[in-house]
Symmetry: C2
Subunit: 326 residues, 2 copies
Amino acid sequence: MTDVAKLARVSAMTVSRALRNPEVVTPKTLKRIEAAIERTGYLPNRVAGSLSSQRTNVIGLIVPSLRNAAFVKTAQGVADMLGQRFDLMIAHSGYTLKGEEAAVVAFLSQRVCGMILHNTRHTPRTRRLIQEAAVPCVETGNLVSRPIEMTVGFSNRKAARAMTEHLIHQGYRRIGFVSVPLKENDRAAERRAGYAEALKKHGLAVDPDIMLEAEAGLKSGGEALVQLVTGRRKVDAVFLTDDVLATGAVLEANRRGWRIPDDIAIAGSDDDEYQQNVLPPMTSIRFPRYEIGRRAAGMVMDRVLGRPRRRAVVDLGFEIIRRAST
Amino acid sequence: MTDVAKLARVSAMTVSRALRNPEVVTPKTLKRIEAAIERTGYLPNRVAGSLSSQRTNVIGLIVPSLRNAAFVKTAQGVADMLGQRFDLMIAHSGYTLKGEEAAVVAFLSQRVCGMILHNTRHTPRTRRLIQEAAVPCVETGNLVSRPIEMTVGFSNRKAARAMTEHLIHQGYRRIGFVSVPLKENDRAAERRAGYAEALKKHGLAVDPDIMLEAEAGLKSGGEALVQLVTGRRKVDAVFLTDDVLATGAVLEANRRGWRIPDDIAIAGSDDDEYQQNVLPPMTSIRFPRYEIGRRAAGMVMDRVLGRPRRRAVVDLGFEIIRRAST
DNA sequence: TTGAAAGCGATACCAG
DNA sequence: CTGGTATCGCTTTCAA
């Protein structure tokens, strides 16, 4: 920057201004500076700038994993919303609270100017660190009433309850339930709770024998379906609370020649292209993943750009999409 | 840090050492420092550290988009390989060379210590900037012989040629070709070239009428298939060089009751769970997406950690997976 | 509108 | 093994 300043015959300070508030610099001076920047190939050093100004332009995003399309959609929303004004750092927690904590520490050390967590459960230390650092923070995912600061998401419990009730209204009485493993995953746990609530409300038995946890994957969804349908459990419908598991179940039914929904009804979750296009198209729950990312990013940016701190809980809801599989 | 130093009755310098080279500090002193860190809740400021040491621990990754699962798999590989030692910044180019350039400028300003680009074509300025900054850089994706510095990937052209030859050997003679739009996408262009090469080599006509560009998406793949099969084009096989397009084609054939491969053979690309599990399982090309991410990250880290600069071209190849759809 | 001086919070380097 | 001092490249603040 000194080089640029010399070449343009101004002080470094003026160069700095020209870069951030071109309008307060005389057009003539500005021209000279721009020419000098061009000639020297100068690239501002944001590390120095950040240290000096005590703020960065980096937003940190923590997702459980990049393997799950749902989180990636949210990340897309975040990335699109941030645009050129902010840079994006992404870390993954590996679905563990400790992993999340480690990522938070790393981000805080980098002095990110805002954080987005895809999770609403945290270790006490995670909460404390974020609060003490007073970094603008949005939690996404399962809606909670008392966020660290702001949250945007939907109620997994209500969504699962709504889908289960839909199945009950369609006349199904033995409804199997399949989710990804519940350990350290509040979202899956909430869905299971919603499912159970609906059954109880309608006087149906909550039978652990037909509530399965399955590893992520198409194959795994198919296996879960087979496990529920064969043997003596006699389910008439299966609700799989994961996009990939759900599609896997339908594809497996196709392979075995089971008719959907006559032999077995299948409902999915986190609607996507595949669920829409399999045979038959699947009843599912649509979650506004991308929109959540955009909103979360927007809320963080607002705070970074000056809006005062305020608790905020934004419920973006969900939608039950009825298709031919139920 | 000064607070910690005071509390531990040592200099700031010693605290700094304790954090980075605990082994050179007397155990007793170390204990005091650790206690002080605990008490003050001190979090190192990496911005300051980076400015001082003139190097960050941030690796920048640029992908065309987060919407394409293939790029996300590579990103996973990168993220997994980096582990805790480095932080990851992700930017997307929007599939344009100018977008990539903007992201490179942003990363260089952030003084990332290494960069991974998912692209091997760049604007002249992009190449120049990276070379002048002398930042360790790995390009992934379509293999080229003269990378900026290092590259790891596979030959899209060879892969497409191999698949086309496989179809020819199976006895197909009118082979339709579908890819995503070629504009600013060297990978898609290379595949088309490979397809054409194979046809020529076997004395088959290269007919632009049966070479389609389709927007990404399951629907779009189905439409392309229908367009090729109906009408008077009489293709006997279709090669779709995109995972989603390919699955979309099979699902559409299922809906219409077309028998695969008897009525129409379908080959895909970038093999994934879906292509494996549709009916019938699809012949496809397997690319080592995840491994590419790991290798790229490994190569960058090696350079950052001191291995000398050296041109490197790593071909991770591909594999033709034969299944029932052809 | 422009400039000079004083940090920002760490690390490098050299003494002790 | 520990400490002092200069410095990294920019922004803040205040004065001209």
